[in-house]
């Protein structure tokens, strides 16, 4: 399925991760091509978040390999990891904005604290990034707690794109938002990924979001990628697990246990 002539942006091979007796990732293989938006779908507890955190280096896998631009990033020192992180932009599920800083300082955080940019140019770049996510200068001095959930997501997106990263990660970008705000966020994500020419990896269980932002889709189930294809094929995958997930039916091979 992968065109070997084109270098892979992200390549994951046989990734395993356990927490105690809970074997979450059981041999994940996944390739992401440069400039493509890959969305990993799957139910709660299937390992989506753990997979994303392994790629980001926030969790160390037990075995397997993760390569970015052909170089292994599976086990790096803190300093080398920080360098790899400069390629990344990440939008967290809850925004993960820093309460103690203003909106513009949140957006400009990487510029101020990691890249050593002076406050004035950093503030100008933060304002430009906020404009790109349809937020005006009037919110720059506010604290994150003063923003609505949708605005916090947009500020989080501005923070992710401000340093023009090569790879963008989105963790459940529309969870907890009303359908209209979710659509706004999806459109912004799609627009920004295209504008930056970035590679994107998202995890979600929101099929509306998948249809908006995905070029490619992979489904994770019980710690393994069980299906992969282009986004337009997701409704005709021929895979009973994917079909059940897409239709949201209780009946099918995926059993949800009452807990």
């Amino acid at each position: 399925m992968t065109d070997l002539a084109e270098p892979l942006k992200i390549s994951i091979r046989d990734l395993h991760k356990s927490f105690g007796s809970n074997h979450v990732l059981r041999g994940v293989d996944l390739d992401v091509m440069p400039g493509r938006s890959m969305v990993v779908i799957g139910g709660s507890g299937t390992g989506k978040s753990v997979l994303l955190k392994c790629i980001l280096g926030l969790i160390s896998p037990d075995s397997g390999s993760i390569c970015i631009d052909g170089k292994s990033v599976t086990r790096l020192s803190a300093r080398k990891r920080a360098k790899v992180m400069s390629k990344f932009g990440m939008l967290f599920q809850g925004g993960a904005l820093f309460d103690s800083l203003s909106v513009w300082e949140n957006v400009a955080f990487r510029l101020l604290y990691a890249d050593g940019v002076a406050r004035k140019p950093a503030k100008e770049r933060a304002e430009a990034a906020l404009n790109q996510v349809n937020l005006g200068a009037d919110v720059m001095g506010l604290s994150p707690a003063e923003l609505s959930g949708g605005m916090q997501k947009r500020v989080g997106l501005a923070r992710a794109i401000v340093a023009k990263p090569e790879i963008l990660f989105f963790d459940e970008p529309t969870t907890g938002l009303d359908p209209i705000t979710a659509d706004v966020i999806d459109n912004l994500i799609r627009r920004q990924v295209t504008a930056l020419g970035a590679t994107a990896v998202s995890i979600t269980h929101d099929m509306n979001s998948v249809r908006k932002i995905a070029d490619d889709v992979a489904m994770i189930y019980e710690g393994k990628i069980i299906w992969r294809g282009v986004a337009k094929d997701v409704d005709n995958s021929g895979n009973p697990y994917v079909e059940q997930f897409v239709t949201g039916s209780e009946n099918g091979p995926i059993k949800v246990l009452a807990r």
Binding site: L58, M85, G89, F92, A96, L97, D99, F109, R110, Y113
Partner: protein
């Protein structure tokens, strides 16, 4: 369950915790002492731990000094030794009560606040966000707090020493009939430089413990409000116990 298995689990858990604290301490100390430093974070912590703790430390010291003077006067009266009130108050405050009581109050105020703040950052993924923004959380969060506590707690204890002695002076002159100038002269003549310095060394160690326990428990906070609450409690309790233990060790070294 087999009693030996219970013992084994307890020993393993204790060893794991000790190892985790040792590794955390090493990373925290390196972050505190080695550049790059985040000066704005250090400044904010100096203000928060130092300046904003002045009222609680001052009030603790003044009432402790006052009560100490009354107790020493009452006890000393049994041996006709009431005149030693200024000497014993200044010795007790500078060597023992100033550093220990101020640090215990700071364990309640500062350790708890650090654990709650860092714990909330952990559960809302703000610490993960720091890493994805190429910023080492130890350098940004832990290092400045440890450094600020080591700097400010001795200063706070020096203030507590002065206020504590003045608390004793106030009671002695207003209630016990001491002459104010004589009380001060007796105190100053009796106290040695080492009495004060040994108390300040203790304070620096206690400051390190306060910040370390606050950061450690916050950093390892489990998910949810309950996790943050438990981290806060553990930070205060462990900081208080370690302060008492360290106080005993340091006192045996300093006597």
């Amino acid at each position: 369950m087999n009693p030996l298995a219970i013992l084994g689990h307890a020993v393993l858990a204790l060893t794991r915790e000790a190892g985790a604290i040792a590794l955390f301490t090493r990373r925290g100390v390196v972050a505190a002492l080695m550049p790059p430093w985040y000066w704005s974070q250090l400044g904010a912590q100096l203000l928060r731990i130092g300046y904003f703790s002045l009222p609680v430390v001052g009030l603790t010291a003044v009432f402790t000094g006052a009560a100490l003077a009354l107790n020493i006067y009452t006890g000393g009266a049994r041996f006709n030794a009431e005149q030693f009130v200024p000497n014993i108050v200044v010795l007790g405050i500078t060597r023992e009560l100033g550093p220990v009581l101020a640090s215990l109050m700071l364990a309640g105020r500062v350790s708890a606040a650090m654990a709650a703040e860092i714990g909330a950052m952990r559960v809302t993924e703000q610490i993960d966000a720091l890493e994805t923004l190429s910023t080492d959380p130890f350098r940004f969060l832990v290092g400045p707090r440890i450094l600020a506590a080591i700097i400010t707690v001795p200063i706070l204890v020096l203030v507590a020493d002065i206020i504590g002695v003045m608390g004793g002076w106030a009671v002695s002159t207003q209630i016990l009939g001491f002459n104010g100038a004589t009380y001060i002269r007796n105190s100053v003549d009796f106290v040695t430089q080492w009495d004060v310095v040994s108390g300040l060394i203790k304070a620096a160690v206690f400051g390190f413990i306060i910040a370390l326990m606050g950061c450690y428990h916050g950093y390892r906070s489990k998910r949810g409000a309950q996790g943050v609450g438990r981290a806060t409690t553990n930070a205060v309790v462990s900081a208080a116990i370690l302060i008492f233990a360290a106080n005993y060790v340091l006192t045996t070294l300093f006597v």
